[in-house]
Symmetry: C2
């Protein structure tokens, strides 16, 4: 029988926010509450920094009604950091774990976080201090191995599907070209979700470009022109991270000025409208060359709101809360730790279950959009993707289409 | 007794989409249906262009269930145009009105549309052909005279409030600076709505800049610095149309390249991320001068989604549908025409009523954010604005705040 350690538990949240991170840590609290082995449930403020600084909040002492409201609140009330622990940090955290009698660590984050947890665990094992580590998946990018999808993805996908549905109906009113840049540096799952809001076959987005398919600017202009020639309009979704065939980000290819780097040294893709503006510029040039001089062409960058819009997908909410509870149950069952993943059982009716997998299977690895979700030309998603994505985002509001065949005769 | 003309009715929609234009024309159809004087209810496709080309759809023949779904659909299923009628157009439309026995014209649009209607009416009167014109207010900008607010505004305001609520909770996780550019060329109502999603007193947006208050770049940097010094972060909402004290758009002041013009010859403000990028650049410069070298600073441009997100405010939906019906009722009561406006009766509980006002009171005029809605420093909205705006946007989803006072003692 596995041994259940007695002591305190700490939960932290790390990396970029999603609409359901709070649901996951509230799930952990609900799962641990009342267990005789757990004396205290602590929230570490600002990811691992709260452990290092002993900036810990008593989560068991929070009003249950407030916890329920928090579970519906986007972003994370435990705040975040992108701080990756150094060896010194690991040693310092171990000291805190011992002082605070912490025996359980729940880390909610992406693969950076699972990597951090892996490193901290190794340090603890080497030291002989028994600690149990549970990673709870989270990322709007959906790019974690072992997961059918990650908590946070479905709500962001719901937003992107809704946004493109609205912008497509908007574009229809005047015609012309519209482009939306969606989040996703290396994985195209979120951009692909733009197709989940299509109302009918001829609805936009008519073209979808993801980082997994090499992006060719000329090909893109031609694709858009072909759609425009047929429909009198064209709506496009592209990932912020689209790259040319050499792996150079298109933002870099098209950029004339200096590009900002983020805290990991990567070119900053979010929080700037540069890619949308540059691609719209290319389209205007190309269309002018085809004789369309005053093309109405607009580009939006969907931005941070994709990950934090206050509208959780029902499946996402339930799974995120459930995954937190599952992690707690695994801890109380004496499991030594691992990464808590979502596995799909069935598409229709949709059904999933949770599984504890080795941390090493997830840590530092990136999952990509499967080849069968991208069409041959690399400019759209496939019906397989639609089938996969639809159950995740929940019902969208109903749309009615005017029957234009009921014409009044000309006089 | 006013005379009720017998004949056909036509409805068209003009200008930028909103989330509830369809509700307004469905309201017109519902209001006219079954009236013995009205033989046909026609929808003109692409605004007045559908009248000029006799591109007319039978709205009375649409499936009532579809009409209900259409009334919940953003943008306009009658499509749109920004075409302002010339004298020749007016003459050509009169010919169509006569041929098609059209006696009632319902135009849904902003003040450009009311101006167009005014001109068409004058042409008809001169010609001696009796026509009744009803303008139904519509614009997310909320900038029409005689209206407490316009159909379309409340849903766009709901989106902006939700978006800034989400982005503020997001910004809280890492700190730093975040800026969102909201729609509004001359009127700051929509940008002001960013404040309607504040969760608590210290919530963002901490600063709100509207076109009605002259924008000073240095003052803006200092304002942001002051908030940052106190909160470790700063969230800002600005209107796309902010101007300096000479009335020059800030986008133009900060721009190095050539600016696009829209179809009215105005500098194109929407559909580009340039203003957000430029303001974030200014903030980085200023903060670096204050010793903060690696400020996390991001800017989003909310873009077209503000006006077309598929999430109608309940008040907006009810009023837009109601205003369409009201216009139909006025027509059936024999009124000669005018603009249908929303007048507020009470704040709490919120109550409004509809009124028919002379077209000339609305046509070609712009309403601005009242002085009492902007604070003295010109960098925020007042409690008066919050009181005015809250009932319009409907309930937002609940937010829970962690009680950080329940600290775990350091060991």
């Amino acid at each position: 029988m596995p041994e259940v350690l007695s002591g305190n538990a700490v939960v932290f949240t790390q990396g970029g926010p999603t609409a359901v991170i709070n649901a996951s840590w509230v799930g952990v609290v609900e799962g641990l509450k009342g267990a005789k082995e757990i004396s205290g449930i602590y929230g570490s403020i600002n990811g691992i920094d709260g452990i290092l600084n002993q900036n810990l909040v008593d989560l068991a002492a929070q009003d249950p009604k407030t916890l329920q409201a928090i579970s519906r609140t986007p972003a994370t009330q435990l705040l975040s950091t992108r701080h990756k622990p150094t060896e010194e940090d690991n040693a310092a955290m171990l000291v805190v774990f011992k002082k605070q009698n912490i025996r359980y660590v729940f880390g909610i984050g992406g693969n950076d976080t699972s990597e951090s947890l892996d490193i901290i665990r190794d340090a603890a094992v080497k030291d002989g201090y028994e600690l149990r580590f549970f990673h709870i998946a989270k990322t709007v990018d959906c790019d974690l191995k072992e997961n059918d999808h990650t908590p946070g993805y479905a709500s962001a996908a719901r937003y992107v599907a809704n946004a493109l549905r609205g912008c497509d109906l908007d574009n229809q009113c005047f015609g012309g070209f519209y482009l939306a840049v969606c989040m996703g540096r290396h994985a195209g799952f979120l951009t692909a979700a733009s197709a989940l809001g299509r109302v009918e076959e001829k609805s936009g987005p008519h073209l979808v470009y993801v980082p997994e398919a090499p992006f060719d600017i000329d090909r893109f202009c031609k694709d858009a022109w072909n759609v425009y020639a047929q429909e009198g309009r064209c709506v496009v979704a592209v990932s912020e991270g689209i790259e040319d065939k050499n792996g150079t980000p298109i933002l870099q290819v098209l950029s004339t000025g200096k590009l900002e780097a983020d805290s990991h040294g990567n070119v900053q893709l979010s929080g700037t409208g540069a890619l949308a503006d540059a691609l719209v510029g290319k389209i205007k040039e190309y269309f002018a060359g085809q004789g369309v001089k005053n093309l109405r062409a607009r580009g939006d960058t969907l931005g941070y709101i994709q990950r934090s819009f206050p509208d959780q997908s029902p499946v996402d909410r339930e799974e995120s809360l459930g995954l937190g509870k599952f992690a707690a149950q695994q801890a109380l069952a004496g499991e030594a730790g691992g990464s808590c993943a979502i596995v799909r059982i069935a598409d229709a009716p949709y059904q999933s279950e949770f599984r504890l997998v080795p941390l090493g299977n997830v840590a530092g690895k990136t999952r990509h959009l499967p080849a069968e979700f991208i069409n041959q030309q690399g400019n759209n998603v496939t019906p397989d993707f639609i089938r996969w994505g639809k159950p995740l985002i929940g019902e969208l509001s109903p749309v009615g289409i005017l029957d234009m065949s009921k014409k009044i005769a000309k006089q």
